[in-house]
Subunit: 488 residues, 2 copies
């Protein structure tokens, strides 16, 4: 174990997770590593949960992360009652249910803003950073593990730092990280990234030795999630996306090679990448959040020449291949802080092609990506706003229906707005893609109904629009507001 | 007149406005100079209107501008029937009524995106740029007049350029412009602006001589609008904004000197600047869109050390003073393209304090800034999204009521969303300021009702929220959707 800590003076800080957990005081604000179940702190949060359960103390913790994390944080700290507040993104059903039950207070922040807000003091004092690393080198450099997320910022801003040296994370990760931080206003400078593969920072977390309160060994592995199989609808959505991208290049509105791609996690994203693998596009770049199986598959195929993200997670099925071939991937991947992977400046400069998922979209092009029926939070906005607001091409996708075809995902008025009509260029369902650029609200509505809505729902959507056009005194955005949420 | 064209070969292109108007062909897409009634093309659009009226042709023009322009474009081209489509922003009542009557098609675009979309071909071919300039120098450089807006982009992208040399614009404007354009992806580079006063471009519009189809003399002046008087409510809103900014600096969340200020146009903006004049703040900077009377007043007072915008307009009352003192202002002001004045990269880097006006806001912090009752478009989103999404401090302000106190501007659900809960830090009314950062939806709702809503409307808003909390199965964002638009 100790071979992971190559700088001797750091050994004096080693203690057990339970001892480290005792350092946490009630009402603490804690920033933890972790982004889309990878590289999150594990041993110490579990120990905090054990402590809370054993003592019955009201710890009342505020827990901040990069994005979604594993059950070791969101599950254990919810069940133990140790966590009272949570931000900025979550996907664990235990914490989500607690949030929707009103038991845990959650607030939703653009992922690119977490670092800005932390540095500006919007979160108040950050008491602890609890950060997983893969080791400490001879110079005392902290080597990140499978994600960066906001860990660099939490280390920078926290009063105390607790490190988890995870011995299950391969030491070969050394060198794939690029830790760069934007200085606080008024000292902020241009981010010198001009290409997706530009290296601009260090391959370790800078950290004041005196701030380190504890170093804990952990042997709890990341749990890569199984890749969602590509169903028929996802495949059709992906086909439509490939088609629209192809047509944009043919029309000269997108350069070739393509600008870097951003995509969320899941079946459609995988199907899009699979489609690109079969396409004529080459020299593909990724400038996204999460690097998953499909990215490595396209590196294998010689299609992706570089992939930048903030998190790296592969499914159990893919793990063996990934590990065996890691040296082939090493110089084609990079993990950056989420402040940089999601930074408006870089996204706009690179002209990223952003592909994000909608829960529902309305006929005027507004997108709900966070709430079921306007009241039940799912995961949060995540990085979708960072990308959609600044993308060279902003694509939102959704199946045309939900609940086995009984609900239309295309509605007259979304029950919650995360992305406005101003920040969406294409809406895509399995039925087609609607180009919403340079369209009036009425033109948009007709396109979305005729192209994207499920044919079964088109008549009632047209009926709504026709009546709105007829009855509204003002014709710019025809709406019958009194009926849009009837029965909700 | 000819002394305004100092490079002889350009004289060969001079013709009358009516001759130039004949060059315009049906269905043309035209990009015109002009931003918040300043520096807009005047003589040629009036001549196009005359032509359309005289001949009865269906010209079917698409007219793009920087932002709002004078009646010479929006009034004349609407009345003459020459204009069929309009983007990205308008404030003229003639065109607004035509849009809401369904007679003119209008689409709404973030002002920072206009240049990006034009360069990427999203608008299709741009047939003509019609741009007001104040002169042409010995080297053939085109000297802008009182705004830049998107004129540089239209000149770059259009097939044909028509110039209006406006002899009423003072030649002393030479030198206040900084024309910089971001190259199209994949050649885009960091914008090297680190301080509001950094000069990074040329003081003229680059333009291929061969693209110039006509040069027209114009003596139609800009019509500066009278400054709205500061009423009691605006004064209170401004006082609240000054107070919150002061408290943010005291808490260390805002640096001193303050980051640059962005503010819209109108009474509250003027009252805020007047309040800053009376405050202890010094070395103020402006990084905004429109430079108006109050900015010059604060330069006079030694409070504003530099002001960057894309448009310069003073009221008739202030004009004499402004002209007499112009040489004092010259090195303290700069006009940039709206691509740069509104660029997310620069706004985020500078940590701009953004102050924008809401038509209505909901208790969860979503803002409607473009539509009355969800259907009637007012002016468009303008630059408010560019600034709100990227500001170091994003403030939205509104009087608590409209229609003589009969309507609450704080509602359960806004009838149109232009800015989501994610992009607003403070909501301010005459009753106070609600800090919405790091708050759950429920916390936000209580703050907004108790602090911002008019006391007469607080009981019914609380009643709504209480019932929503009681009746909603999901407590994260308690809503009773079926009643939010009742009676609308």
């Amino acid at each position: 174990m100790h071979e992971r800590i190559k700088c001797e003076k750091y050994l004096s800080k080693v203690m057990s997770a339970d001892e480290a957990a005792k350092l946490i005081y009630p009402n603490a604000v804690i920033g933890m590593s972790g982004f889309t179940p990878a590289g999150h702190a594990k041993a110490v949060p579990l120990a905090i949960a054990r402590r809370a359960e054993a003592t019955g103390e009201q710890l009342n913790l505020t827990v901040m992360t990069g994005a979604s994390v594993g059950d070791e944080i969101d599950g254990a700290l919810t069940r133990s009652g140790a966590m009272k507040r949570r931000t900025p993104y979550q996907t664990n059903s235990t914490v989500r249910n607690a949030i929707n039950a009103g038991e845990i207070d959650y607030f939703d922040v653009h992922l690119s803003q977490v670092a800005v807000w932390a540095k500006n003091g919007f979160f108040g004092d950050i008491d602890f950073a609890i950060v997983e690393i893969s080791g400490i080198d001879e110079e005392g450099h902290l080597i990140p593990s499978t994600s960066i997320g906001a860990a660099n910022t939490y280390i920078e801003c926290a009063k105390h730092v607790i490190l988890e040296v995870n011995t299950t994370q391969p030491e070969s990760l050394r060198g794939i990280h690029d830790v760069y931080t934007v200085e606080r206003v008024p000292n902020s400078k241009p981010i010198p990234i001009i290409h997706a593969d530009d290296r601009v920072g260090t391959d370790y977390y800078p950290c004041d030795f005196d701030k380190i309160a504890a170093i804990v060994y952990s042997d709890i592995p990341d749990h890569g999630r199984a890749v969602q199989p590509v169903d028929d609808i996802s495949q059709k959505i992906a086909d439509n996306i490939i088609e629209l991208i192809t047509k944009e290049t043919q029309a000269g509105r997108l350069p070739v090679p393509l600008p870097p791609l951003q995509s969320g996690v899941g079946g459609v994203a995988n199907a899009v990448l699979a489609g690109l693998k079969a396409s004529d596009f080459t020299d593909l770049k990724v400038y996204s959040e999460v690097l998953q199986d499909a990215v490595f598959d396209l590196i294998d195929a010689g299609k992706i020449s570089f992939a930048s993200g903030t998190s790296l997670t592969v499914s159990p099925d893919f793990e063996e291949h990934y590990k065996a071939n890691f040296e082939n991937y090493r110089d084609k991947i990079m993990l950056r802080p989420q402040e940089i992977s999601n930074h408006p400046e870089v996204i706009r400069r690179l002209g990223v092609i952003a592909m994000n998922t909608a829960i529902e979209a309305d006929i005027f092009g507004n997108v709900n990506s966070s709430h079921i029926n306007g009241t039940r939070i799912m995961n949060g906005i995540g990085g979708s706003g960072d990308f959609a607001q600044n993308a060279g091409l902003s694509i939102f996708m959704t199946p045309s229906t939900a609940k086995n075809g009984t609900l239309s995902c295309i509605v007259p008025f979304v029950t919650h707005v995360d992305h406005t009509e101003h920040d969406i260029h294409f809406l895509v369902t399995e039925y087609g893609y609607a180009d919403l650029r340079c369209t009036t609200p009425l033109e948009r509505a007709r396109k979305i109904i005729d192209i994207c809505a499920h044919p079964d729902f088109r008549p009632q959507l047209h009926d709504y629009l026709d009546r709105a056009c007829a009855q509204c005194a003002h014709k710019h955005t025809p709406q019958l507001l009194s009926e849009v949420f009837q029965g909700k």
